[in-house]
C-alpha cells in the first residue's frame, strides 16, 4: 500500500533571510536581494551582482570540520538549513527513530571552493596544495554525511547531483526511499554556494545578466546567481501523525523527464518540461483544475523562460494565462542546485499563508510569455496544490507536486 509523505519541517538560508517568516515576508514584499557582492569577487569582473546569505554566528562551522585555511561554505549552508528544518520538525531522535531516518542532499557543485582554493595556491605551492583532507572535502556526499553524523542518522544517506534540478531530485529520491520502506523519515534538501567557475562559464555563454535577472520580461538577458540552501523533513504520514507532529503539507509525488537535446540548452519546444509535468499530474492523480500555483524554474534566460511557458500552455491550454506562476529567482537569484529545494519551501509557505509570491524586475512582460507571473508583489490566493518545476543542464526536468493538508 502506498505511503503518504508528509512535510513536518522546513528550513532555508537565503539572500532573503534565514528564518522562514522573514524569508516569506521579504518575498511577498517583492524585495529584490540581488546586489553588488561583498564577500565574493573575481579579478576579471569589476562588479558582480548576486544574492548573498548572511549567516548568524551560531551557524559557522568549528575549525575541526575543515582546515584553518578555508571554510566549508556549502556544508555550512546545508547544515544551517538542516538545523532549522529539524528543529521545526521537533524530531524525536531516539535510536529506533534515528535508525529509520536518512538524508538526501542535492547540489550542483558542492564544495567547489575546495577546488578554488587549490587553484589559487597551485601557482605558488603546486602539488603541495593537495593535502590529506582534500578527497573528503571535495566529495559532495559530505553534505549529506556530515548532516547524518550530526543527527546520528542510520538510514540511507545519498547525494543527488542533477545540476539545477538537484533540489527536486533530492526531494524525489527521499520521497521514494520512504515509499520503498527504506526509511520512515528523510531529511531532503539542497545547497550551493556562489561559484566563480559558474559565473565565468555563464558569462562566456552569454547567459549571465548584465544587471539583474528579469524572468518573463521582454528584455531579460540572463541569470543572476545567489547562494543558499533549502531543506525539508519528509516523513511517512502515519508515523508523523502517531508522534503528534505538525504536518505542514504533503509531497504528493513527482514527475521527471530528460530533454537529451543539448549540453546546456533545453529542448525549445518545451516538450521535456511538459512530459515531467504530465507525469507528475498523472502519478499523483492531480487534476489540471486543482493546480493553484506553479513555482517556476524561471531563470531569466530568453530560451529557458519561453520553454517553460510553452510547456505550461501545452498542459493547461488557455488556463495557462491565469495560473499564478512566479520565479523567486528574480529576488534571491539562481541558487543552482539549492533553487528547487528553496522553492519547495516557498510552496509550503504559500500553502500555509494562502498567498503566492511574486516575480520582480518585470518592467515589460514578453508578449510571448503570456502568463500571470504575479508581477511586483505577492498576493493572497487559494493555494491547495503547487507544482515545483526545475530544469538542469543536459535537460533533467523535474516537477514535484506539493499539496496542502486540512
Amino acid at each position: 500500500m502506498a505511503r503518504r509523505v508528509a512535510i513536518t519541517g522546513c528550513g532555508v538560508v537565503t539572500p532573503a533571510g534565514c528564518e522562514l517568516e522573514l524569508f516569506w515576508d521579504s518575498l511577498m514584499r517583492g524585495e529584490c536581494m540581488l546586489k553588488p557582492l561583498r564577500t565574493f569577487a573575481f579579478r576579471d569582473f569589476d562588479s558582480l551582482i548576486g544574492g548573498e546569505v548572511t549567516l548568524p554566528d551560531a551557524d559557522f562551522l568549528p575549525a575541526s570540520i575543515d582546515t584553518d585555511r578555508y571554510r566549508a561554505r556549502c556544508l555550512e549552508l546545508a547544515l544551517a538549513a538542516t538545523r532549522r528544518a529539524v528543529a521545526q520538525a521537533a524530531l524525536p531522535f531516539d535510536l529506533a527513530f534515528r535508525e529509520r531516518t536518512g538524508a538526501v542532499i542535492g547540489t550542483t557543485l558542492g564544495e567547489e571552493r575546495q577546488v578554488g582554493d587549490l587553484s589559487d595556491r597551485w601557482g605558488t605551492v603546486g602539488e603541495g596544495a593537495i593535502d590529506a583532507g582534500f578527497l573528503a572535502r571535495s566529495d559532495s556526499h559530505r553534505l549529506a554525511s556530515v548532516a547524518a553524523e550530526r543527527y546520528g542518522l542510520g538510514g540511507p544517506v545519498v547525494l543527488s547531483a542533477a545540476a539545477c534540478s538537484s533540489g527536486n531530485a533530492a526531494i524525489a529520491t527521499a520521497y521514494d526511499l520512504i515509499q520503498m520502506g527504506a526509511a520512515d523519515c528523510m531529511i531532503a534538501g539542497a545547497a550551493d554556494t556562489l561559484v566563480r567557475s559558474i559565473y565565468c562559464g555563464f558569462f562566456r555563454m552569454g547567459a549571465l545578466s548584465k544587471t539583474v535577472c528579469r524572468p518573463y520580461d521582454k528584455n531579460r538577458d540572463g541569470v543572476s546567481f545567489g547562494e543558499g540552501a533549502g531543506v525539508l523533513v519528509l516523513e511517512d504520514f502515519e508515523s508523523a501523525r502517531k508522534r503528534g507532529a505538525r504536518i505542514y503539507a504533503e509531497v504528493a509525488g513527482f514527475g521527471v523527464s530528460n530533454d537529451a537535446h543539448h549540453i546546456t540548452a533545453p529542448d525549445p519546444s518545451g516538450n521535456g518540461f511538459m512530459r515531467a509535468i504530465k507525469q507528475a499530474l498523472a502519478t499523483t492523480g492531480t487534476a489540471l483544475e486543482a493546480v493553484d500555483y506553479v513555482s517556476a524554474h524561471g531563470t531569466g534566460t530568453q530560451y529557458s523562460d519561453l520553454c517553460e511557458v510553452r510547456a505550461l500552455y501545452a498542459i493547461f491550454g488557455e488556463r495557462a494565462k491565469s495560473i499564478p506562476m512566479s520565479s523567486i529567482k528574480s529576488m534571491i537569484g539562481h541558487t543552482n542546485g539549492a533553487a528547487s529545494a528553496i522553492e519547495a519551501v516557498a510552496c509550503v509557505m504559500a500553502m500555509t499563508h494562502q498567498a503566492v509570491p511574486p516575480t520582480v524586475n518585470v518592467t515589460e512582460q514578453d508578449p510571448e510569455c503570456v502568463i500571470d507571473c504575479v508581477p511586483g508583489r505577492g498576493r493572497a490566493a487559494k493555494v491547495g496544490t503547487c507544482l515545483n518545476l526545475s530544469a538542469g543542464f543536459g535537460g533533467f526536468n523535474a516537477c514535484v507536486v506539493l499539496r496542502g493538508v486540512s
Binding site: 557543485l109 577546488v115 566529495d139 542510520g154 544517506v157 542533477a162 565565468c200 530528460n258 537529451a260
Partner: protein
C-alpha cells in the same frame, strides 16, 4: 515492508577494465588470480591500474566525444556495450522510455580542476567556457544520457562506493513506477594525475602497491580504472520483448553509520534489509561479493558485518572480493562487484580473492582458490569511510524472483 516491489531484470552489461572489456574476460582474469595493479614509480610506488590503449571510438562514436574527459568516454562506451547486448536502440525502444542513473562522485573533478586552474592562471577570456557544463558532478551522466537519447530521466548519485548499488535500488523503483521501460545504470572511475595524487594523499593507498583485501597485512588499496553499465528492466517487460536476462536485482538496502563503533552494525542492517526485501534468507545465498579493498579498518568492519549476517551459514557461503585484482574504483566498484557476482552465479564458480593470505576476521569462508558454487542468490556489499553502507541481492538468470 518491501524495498523492491518486484525483481528487476538485468538485460545488458557493458564493462571496460584493464583486465578486459567483456564480463567473461574480466571473470576469467579473476579466476586466474591476475591483478591489474602494478606499483607506479612516478607516484611513489602505489598500486595503479589503467586500461591500456583505450580508444573510445572503438566502442561508440557519438557527437562531442572529443570534448569529454576519459571518465565520461569510458562511461559512454560501457553504456553502448550494455545497450547493444540488451538490443535497445531508438528503433526498438522510444527514447522517452529509456532512463539513466549515473554513479559518479569524482567523474567531473579533473575537468573542474583544469577549468578553475585556467581561470586563475589565464583569466576568463583565455579559458574555454565550454568546459564549465562538463565540470559539475552531474555532467558525465548527462553526457551519457545525451549520447543515447535517454529521455525518461537522467540523474547522478554521488555516494562513493555505494553509488552504483544505490542507483540500482532507485532504478528498480523508478522502473516499477513506470517512469521508464528500461534504465541504464552507469558508473565510471578514472584517475587523472591530479586525482591519483588526491587519493594518495588521503592515505587510502598501500605504499608498496601490494593490496591485501581482508588481510592482517592490509595497508591500503590501489587505484583502479573501470566503467560498468547495466540495462535494467521490469521482468515482465524483458520477457515480453524476448530479452535475455543475465540475472535479477531482487533486494536493496542502504544505511549509515554515524558513529565509528556503529559501522559493522550499519552494514549488517543494510544486508539484512536487502535480503528481507528480496524475500531471501542467508540459506539462499550462493556467495557474497564483498567490497574489501585492502583498507584494513574498512575490511574488518565488512568482515564482522558479514559474519553477523551469515551467522551459522558463514562456513558454507563463499566470500569473493574483486578489488585485489581491479583496485579501488569508487563509484564503479559496486557495479564491478555486481558484475563479478552475476557471472559467478551464471558459471557456478567463485574466483579467488587476489592478495588474501591471512584473513583478519575469522570464521568466513573466504575464496582463496577458484571453486564451484551452488545455485542461489548473491549478496553484494559496499561501505565507505564516511559511513554509508549499501547492499544488493542478486539472483541468476532463470531464477526470476523465486522466493522461498
Amino acid at each position: 515492508m518491501s524495498t523492491l516491489s518486484a525483481p528487476v531484470a538485468i538485460t545488458g552489461v557493458g564493462v571496460l577494465t584493464p583486465l578486459g572489456d567483456t564480463p567473461d574476460l574480466v571473470f576469467s582474469a579473476l579466476c586466474e588470480g591476475r591483478t591489474s595493479l602494478s606499483p607506479a614509480a612516478e607516484y611513489g610506488g602505489i598500486g595503479l591500474a589503467a586500461i591500456a590503449d583505450f580508444e573510445a571510438t572503438k566502442y561508440a562514436n557519438v557527437r562531442n566525444l572529443r570534448m569529454y574527459n576519459r571518465t565520461t568516454r569510458l562511461a559512454i562506451c560501457a553504456a553502448k556495450l550494455a545497450l547493444t547486448e540488451a538490443r535497445i536502440d531508438p528503433a526498438t525502444l522510444p527514447p522517452e522510455e529509456l532512463g539513466l542513473l549515473m554513479a559518479s562522485t569524482y567523474g567531473h573533478l579533473d575537468v573542474l580542476i583544469e577549468y578553475d586552474r585556467s581561470l586563475v592562471a589565464n583569466g576568463v577570456q583565455r579559458t574555454n567556457g565550454a568546459l564549465m557544463p562538463l565540470a559539475i558532478p552531474s555532467a558525465p551522466g548527462a553526457m551519457v544520457a545525451l549520447a543515447f537519447g535517454a529521455k525518461a530521466f537522467s540523474m547522478t548519485l554521488s555516494d562513493g562506493g555505494s553509488s552504483s548499488l544505490d542507483a540500482m535500488g532507485l532504478a528498480a523503483r523508478w522502473l516499477a513506477d513506470g517512469r521508464a521501460r528500461a534504465c541504464l545504470v552507469v558508473s565510471a572511475f578514472s584517475a587523472s594525475p591530479d586525482i591519483v595524487r588526491v587519493v594518495s594523499r588521503a592515505g587510502m593507498l598501500a605504499p608498496t602497491g601490494a593490496v591485501h583485501p581482508f588481510d592482517v597485512r592490509g595497508s591500503g588499496t590501489g587505484v583502479g580504472e573501470a566503467a560498468v553499465a547495466f540495462v535494467l528492466e521490469r521482468s515482465q517487460d524483458a520477457s515480453a520483448r524476448g530479452a535475455v536476462s543475465r540475472g535479477y536485482v531482487c533486494g536493496y538496502g542502504a544505511t549509515f553509520a554515524s558513529r565509528p563503533g556503529e559501522h559493522a552494525g550499519a552494514l549488517q542492517r543494510a544486508a539484512k534489509e536487502a535480503l528481507g526485501s528480496a524475500g531471501r534468507s542467508v540459506d539462499d545465498l550462493a556467495l557474497v561479493s564483498a567490497g574489501a579493498s585492502g583498507v584494513r579498518a574498512l575490511d574488518s568492519v565488512e568482515g564482522r558485518a558479514l559474519s553477523a549476517v551469515l551467522g551459522s551459514r558463514a562456513a558454507q557461503v563463499p566470500v569473493m572480493a574483486v578489488k585485489g585484482a581491479l583496485g579501488e574504483t569508487l563509484d564503479a566498484s559496486g557495479s564491478l562487484q555486481v558484475l563479478a557476482a552475476l557471472v559467478a552465479l551464471e558459471k557456478r564458480t567463485v574466483p579467488p580473492i587476489v592478495g588474501l593470505g591471512e584473513p583478519e576476521v575469522q570464521g568466513l569462508s573466504y575464496s582463496t582458490q577458484q571453486a564451484s558454487a551452488r545455485e542461489g542468490a548473491a549478496l553484494v556489499t559496499a561501505l565507505s569511510r564516511d559511513g554509508a553502507c549499501s547492499a544488493i541481492v542478486l539472483s541468476g538468470a532463470g531464477r526470476e524472483g523465486a522466493a522461498r
